[in-house]
């Protein structure tokens, strides 16, 4: 069964993502901060990681850097999920090794499409705003 790790500090958003993905038949792991997320990723090796950027203490970029720096998690597709819509933020995330970028607020379809793209091995970055995919 496909496993998705959700790293999101906002309880309401994290819980909603957990339930949506649960309804879609995914096995869902959830973490409310980057450190716990890294630990879960190393332990469970999820198929896709959805990671928020704006988190206290260890933000999404730091989490991504740590994931890419660890042999166990270096190749797991990571989709950054953020309210930051600036091109510079997207490019920064992709430069650190993100496979996709989803902007908040996202639609359920946008969320599922971003996951499916990664599961299909697609290198494209996804966006709920309908922007052209960006290559990681």
């Amino acid at each position: 069964m496909t496993t998705i790790l959700v790293i999101e500090d906002n309880d309401a958003i994290r819980e909603e993502m957990e339930q949506i993905l649960g309804f879609e038949g995914f096995t869902v792991l959830a973490a409310d901060n980057g450190r716990t997320g890294i630990s879960l990723a190393q332990t469970h090796r999820p198929d896709v990681i959805l990671c928020d950027i704006m988190m206290p203490h260890l933000d999404g970029y730091g989490t991504l850097t740590a994931l890419r720096g660890n042999g166990a998690t270096a190749t797991i597709p990571v989709v950054l999920v953020s309210a930051c819509r600036e091109e510079a933020d997207v490019q920064h995330g992709l430069a650190l090794g993100a496979n996709g970028y989803l902007t908040k607020p996202f639609t359920v379809d946008g969320l599922l499409a971003a996951i499916q793209e990664q599961l299909a091995g697609g290198p494209a970055a996804s966006s709920s705003t309908g922007k052209a995919p960006q290559t990681a």
Binding site: N10, A12, I13, E15, E16, M17, Q19, I20, F23, N33, I53, M54, M55, P56, H57, D59, G60, Y61, A83, C84, R85, T103, K104, P105, F106, T107, V108, L111
Partner: protein, 448 residues
Amino acid sequence: MDPELTQATERRALALFRADQQRLHQHTDHLFAGLMVLQWLAGIAAAFWISPRAWAGTVSWPHLHVWAAVYLGGTISLLPIVLALVRPGRLSTRLVIAVGQGLTSALLIHLTGGRIETHFHVFGSIAFLSFYRDWRVLVPVTLVVSADHLVRGIYWPESVYGVLSASGWRWFEHTGWMLFEDVFVIASCRRGVREMRSIATRQAELETANALVERGKLAELRSRFVSMASHEFRTPLTTILAACQSLVRYIDHMTAEQRRDRLAKIETEVQHMTGLLDDVLTIGKADAGKLDFEPAAVDLKRLCEEIVAEAQTTAAATQRLLFACADGLAPVAVDPKLVRRILGNLLTNAVKYSPVDATVSCQVAVQDGQPVFEVRDQGIGIPTEDRARLFEPFHRGTNVGKIPGSGLGLAITKKAVEIHGGTIAVESSVGKGTTFVVRLGCPEGARG
């Protein structure tokens, strides 16, 4: 500078110059109104002193000079005085005053029997008229005096030169001296006008520069607001959108509790967004000086305990929030809603910007009748370069990274403190922590 701005600056400079020139003309008109009254009275006094009465044997009557000083002097002065008072600043008023001044010179010269000293009144008039910084007023005074000297020099020389017979060149000589003075006065007027233009141009340029600075500040404020709104509104919108779509998409798979849970989330997030909007409106009201202030006697310890308990809900489970307050504090007069803003913002900031295992302490006391709050954290600290702008709306520390926030909390806190007549002080060390100390004033008539 862009051409449109340059043109606007030039237009402003011209308007400033014209306004300044108008003020100068009006002011000088009023000066002349006073001067002409004095000259009129001086002429009457001179007539009474020099030739008060005419005699025929033992019979006497007021000398014709006295009547001339009173009526002719009055006639000459009346119109310029009226115009100076009723229509100051107009060219026609200045020209009439110049004519009146020339005629007054002629009358005074006549009343003093053509004394050469009185001729200096003409030069004084020209000098005084130069106050207008308008060379055109010199034309009528020069023409009037010159014509008077020419005509009276021929037909009544003793009244203008004090001699029965005067050379025809005398008119020419006097006119020449007037023209000689005119040349220098005209040069002075032109220089004065150039200086006025220069000052107006500099003032307009300064105004433009200030406007650009203000525009820049406004643009920066707008940019910070847009950036904050973008981040802070997207998070609750994400929850709302996801919850709504979940309800539509998976409602048949949801339990009743799951449905209620989503509706509750939507309600919570809407409240969060409303709170954010309230903050924006609060800072707007505070900036406009319209913040509500309703002080009342409150139990400070109880109020602060409630606020600390609310702040505790935003802290991580591993964060410790310590509260210290002496028992038996006398009630103090504060606005409880604003105190919630003050202490609530300081505590949630302390929690938000501190590590998950940090301790935040809050001490509340009353010193000299004034409530004092101290909130100390072990957080990221405030860089020195941010301190000056710490309380500006939408400004956030350069070291906050991706920690969410609107940049409104401290701005509202400061406004709430100020409306209490209080002060807020901050000590901070980057990487070690921050301490805020708030002292609230005690409003008169509201003591508990």
